[in-house]
């Protein structure tokens, strides 16, 4: 018995506590909590401002996102937090008090011997970053193969590319410079998520930018609810926008430059209100495909044809609409092997009264909606989900699931209570039961999730390097939260970082890890997914179910098709797997 909570028992125990404790509210038992919020304790002090003015501008309830990245190459995850501002500024933009923030992590020893805890300092001012647009999201990747991770910020307005000049340190501090214009990666439309990928397998990271609608302050219009009261618009009120695919042309005398290949890619012809994106090889042909979460429109699965073109096959492959043929309001997104069969499955978060949706891969890139069978349907109906990811909370080898929530339409009860932004909802945690696909609602194992906020972005990664996955949550018009995992590191784990010969994280690589007992775990290297956010590119393997410590073997599929084997890997640590240093295997064409 794995301790599945039976609702009646919870009710019963709650009754006991209430009777014993009188009317006092019981403080949640933090020592037993699987996640706790350590934002303030770690120095991560940040509050998002959405600039709401009472006009119900569409974009003010959409952001923000966050990134976990190691910008200073010191081996721990730093934090980039996207900020908003007034949508109709009364002062020049460069005089606005709000801007995106960069926090450096300097791990400190924790009270437990050998353990560390995150300690953040705001280094925005000395970083060279000066991102004052109305921020939406962020993605990260090393676009110039110099071994230092760069940052791309999506805005409601002009997007920005920030190059990490790590090799040109100034007073010991890493300096970012704005290379939007020189790289040609600007986009003035309302962009949401973005992702770096090497779609043409040339060794340079390309960029996919998801665009939403053509809403602008100039074409703002009222979108009252059915009773006539003011409300935020939905995506159907404005024209959808086409996404953009930028191909990295590599380094030149002028620096890194990108070429807009959206037309050749097919995206220009298919505008849709997009919000989330993952880049993943769904049919295992060796070419990275692109899956886009669209809001109240068919999701798109851009199948990479290997010649610079893509074809949207979402409908035929079964992941455009839900089992009943409904285009849902897709927002957050992730792709991972949730059923342990070696292929990637897809997950999307949706609007209140829609279920979140799990599409299970049959191994050939054909999907079927298995939401109900997995137990993920009914529990999600009462929530509007945004950031999400599969991650192994307890390192038992099965990927669990977190969704962060917040409404987009006024919750009348909160409005009646006088709340300024009555969109607050609690977040949800689901634990994977294992072998037979199914999830149990574990939200009550982390009392912090019951704290209702207007959650949007969520970035997943191991911020304290203790071998389990933590979660950075961005809340609209609210504080950032750092949900630190309290249970994962109790079980066996193994971490790897996949590094190319240029020294960068090899986004798009796939690892198949074999354990001494014959278990196999497949994970992909990525920063994409979730909502408006960027995740830890390192891979964490929870090995609890394999039950043995020993040596492990990793078969790596590099983005260029090359395959290598790395043997004698040890648990309980992170190890670098460097391209070209493993044993070559038969490679894909």
């Amino acid at each position: 018995m794995r301790g599945v909570i039976v609702p009646n028992r919870v009710l019963a125990l709650g009754m006991i506590l209430w009777l014993v404790g009188g009317c006092d509210r019981q403080n949640p038992s933090e020592p037993d909590a699987v996640l706790i919020d350590a934002a303030v304790a770690s120095g991560l002090s940040f509050t998002h401002h959405n600039g709401m003015s009472g006009e119900y501008y569409f974009s003010e309830m959409a952001g923000p996102g966050a990134a976990l990245l190691d910008f200073d190459n010191d081996g721990d995850l730093d934090v980039y937090l996207v900020q908003g501002r007034a949508l109709v500024p009364t002062a020049p933009v460069d005089e606005q008090p709000f801007r995106d923030r960069l926090f450096r992590n300097d791990l400190e020893p924790a009270s437990t011997p050998g353990a560390s805890m995150a300690r953040f300092s705001d280094v925005t001012e000395i970083s060279g970053l000066d991102s004052r647009g109305y921020g939406m999201g962020v993605t990260v990747g090393d676009v110039d193969n110099d071994g230092w991770v760069d940052i791309y910020v999506t805005n409601f307005g002009a997007n920005m590319m920030w190059r990490n000049q790590g090799g040109q340190e100034v007073s010991g501090d890493v300096v970012f410079s704005d290379v939007t214009e020189v790289t040609g990666t600007g986009d003035a439309r309302w962009s949401s998520s973005a992702a770096f990928l090497d779609f043409d397998r040339d060794g340079w990271l390309d960029l996919y930018v998801v665009n939403y609608t053509d809403f602008r302050i100039a074409n703002h219009k009222p979108c009252p609810n059915p009773q006539g009261a003011p409300e935020y618009c939905g995506p159907l009120a404005y024209r959808p926008q086409a996404d953009r695919l930028f191909r990295n042309l590599g380094d030149s005398d002028d620096g890194i430059r990108f070429e807009d290949v959206s037309f050749a890619g097919g995206m220009v012809e298919a505008p849709a209100p997009g919000l989330g994106v993952v880049t993943v090889d769904v049919d295992r042909d060796g070419w990275i495909d692109i899956y886009v979460a669209n809001d109240q429109a068919h999701n798109q699965l851009w199948m990479n044809q290997g010649d610079g073109t893509f074809r949207d096959e979402a409908l035929l492959r079964g992941c455009a609409v839900d089992a009943q043929g409904r285009a849902q309001a897709s927002m957050g997104i992730d792709a991972a092997d949730v059923d342990g069969d070696g292929d990637v499955d897809l997950f999307l978060t949706h609007l209140l009264s829609e279920t979140n949706t799990l599409y299970v891969n049959d191994g050939n890139g054909l999907f079927s909606d298995q939401t109900v069978a997995a137990g993920l349907g009914v529990p999600s109906l009462a929530f509007t989900g945004f950031g999400t990811a599969f991650f192994d909370l307890d390192n038992d080898g099965w990927l669990d699931l977190l969704t962060v929530n917040g409404e987009v339409r006024t919750l009348r009860e909160q409005r009646a209570a006088g709340e300024a932004l009555p969109l607050r909802q609690p977040n949800l945690l689901f634990r994977n039961r294992g072998a037979a696909l199914g999830f149990d609602d574990w939200s009550d194992r982390a009392p912090v999730l019951a704290q209702a906020l207007v959650s949007r972005g969520a970035a997943f990664g191991d911020v304290d390097n203790d071998g389990d996955t933590d979660v950075l949550v961005q809340n609209n018009n609210g504080p950032a939260q750092l949900l630190v995992n309290q249970v994962g590191s109790r079980d066996i784990w193994l971490g790897v970082r996949l590094i190319g010969d240029s020294g960068r994280d090899m986004l798009g690589a796939s690892v198949s890890l074999s354990t001494p007992d014959g278990s196999i775990f497949v994970r992909r290297v990525r920063t994409d997914g979730s909502y408006l956010s960027a995740n830890d590119p390192r891979l964490l393997f929870g090995l609890g179910r394999s039950g043995s410590q020993g040596t492990y073997v990793a078969d790596v599929q590099w983005p260029n098709g090359r395959q290598e084997r790395f043997s004698d890997l040890r648990s309980g640590r992170y190890q670098d797997l460097v391209e070209g240093q493993g044993l070559p295997l038969d490679s894909r064409p």
Partner: protein, 413 residues
């Protein structure tokens, strides 16, 4: 010991809750035994909606104030109020009012059934099941109750229960497409695509354009390896959200609820939906109602003008356009529309004036720049036309395609 304690509480809990309930009700003044939902944003509601809500609430409070404690009367007043909330998809207050109505009058089918529907909309399937069960005791053959009760079960992966429910619905109405579709969902959940196709074919015979049936047929054929059949059905799925067709299931009780929806917004929504389906007569009628109720609804007025043009009622359309531009002289979509009409009528100079105004009013409107470019071509100013056209494509590479497929429901700019 802990288990014993838990068991004791589990056994004692229902009784304890009932006791607490009695105490609570007993402590209340009879005139406050009914609790109305908060009235939120009353001043901001469409006037007819506000009046409708206030009147329905007044009916409840009048009964209370008059000391009329007849359960049936109070239940009816609360149920009627719940239906008003329900009509506007305001489910939480609707649920609370239905719940109280149902508690007061358990013999009234409406409150049990509608409570079940609202609980389902809120994702409370257990509560919905209970209410459906009570409704079905009162009217065992009410087809929508049978179907939606079974839908709850299939949504909750209770496949045996779902199958029984759908089969019972088919006993009542053998041609029920949604029940056949439900049985297909059950079969698909069990991996039995062949049986699913049989049920889906039956459903498809009844409702040939229903999107869920077409989509499931596509996936079922795909899973049997028949890619050609799969593609045949999947290609018929409409890409537009507005064009999706649900499976029709006549529900007289829900018709009563929908009939309560009033107000400019409701008319406007219905008008847009009708226009998207090409039903311009209906669209014009609905949008006209929206404009009568709220003359400031500029989007509705603009769409009304478009619908009238589709109907060949150009003069009326021009009247609406003039009204809009009096209210909002810089409303770019209407300036573009007017420019195009003037161009069509050969009044090129005036057309250019309005189109230039549109590009100035909304410089980011690709549609306005494109319309201007087309006009400039017609008057022979090719250089200026090229510039305007380039500007339009820069703003939106798809503008020409979109323009060709003129969408009445969009923002128009």
């Amino acid at each position: 010991m802990k288990e014993l304690l838990e068991r004791f509480v589990l056994l004692a809990l229902p009784g304890a809750v009932a006791w607490l309930g009695v105490v609570t009700i007993g402590c209340q003044n009879p005139s406050t035994r009914v609790q109305l939902p908060h009235l939120v944003d009353a001043d901001e509601l469409d006037e007819p909606v506000r009046r409708q809500l206030l009147a329905s609430r007044d009916a409840v409070t009048r009964l209370q104030t008059a000391g009329d404690q007849r359960d049936q009367a109070l239940g009816r007043a609360l149920g009627n109020l719940a239906m008003v909330y329900h009509a506007y998809r305001d489910y939480e207050p609707a649920r609370r009012c239905y719940r109280q109505a149902h508690d007061l009058d358990r013999q009234e089918f409406h409150w049990a059934y509608l409570l079940a529907r609202v609980e389902r909309s809120l994702g409370h399937l257990d509560e919905s099941d209970d209410a459906f069960d009570e409704a079905l005791i009162l009217r065992p053959d009410y087809l929508p109750a049978l179907v939606w009760r079974a839908e709850n079960a299939v949504d909750d992966n209770r496949l045996v229960e779902a199958e029984e429910g759908f089969r019972r619905a088919l006993e009542v109405t053998p041609t029920c497409a949604q029940a056949n579709y439900g049985l297909a969902r059950v079969a698909l959940s069990r991996g039995d695509a062949e049986s699913a196709i049989e049920f889906l074919d039956s459903a498809h015979e009844q409702q040939r354009e229903a999107t869920p049936i077409l989509y499931s047929l596509g996936l079922a054929h795909r899973s049997l390896g028949d890619a050609e059949r799969a593609q045949f059905f999947l290609e018929r799925i409409p890409t537009s959200h507005l064009l999706r067709r649900s499976i029709a299931l006549d529900d007289p009780v829900m018709r009563e609820v929908h009939a309560l929806e009033l107000g400019a917004t409701a008319y406007e929504h219905r008008g847009q939906r009708a226009a998207a389906r090409g039903q311009y007569g209906l669209a014009a009628s609905e949008l006209r109602q929206a404009v009568i109720l709220d003359g400031e609804r500029i989007e509705a007025r603009h769409n009304l003008a478009l619908a009238l043009l589709h109907l060949g009622r150009g003069e009326e359309a021009r009247g609406e356009i003039d009204e809009i531009l009096q209210l909002h002289p810089d409303f770019a979509p209407t300036l573009v529309l007017l420019g195009r009409l003037l161009q069509r009528d050969g009044e090129l100079e005036e057309a250019e004036h309005h189109l230039r105004r549109a590009t100035k009013a909304d410089p980011a409107s690709a549609k306005a720049h494109l319309a201007l470019a087309e006009l400039l071509v017609s008057i022979g100013d090719r250089d200026a036309a090229r510039l305007a056209s380039e500007r339009a494509r820069l703003l939106d590479p798809n503008v020409e395609t979109k323009e060709a497929a003129t969408a009445i429901g969009g923002s128009g700019s």
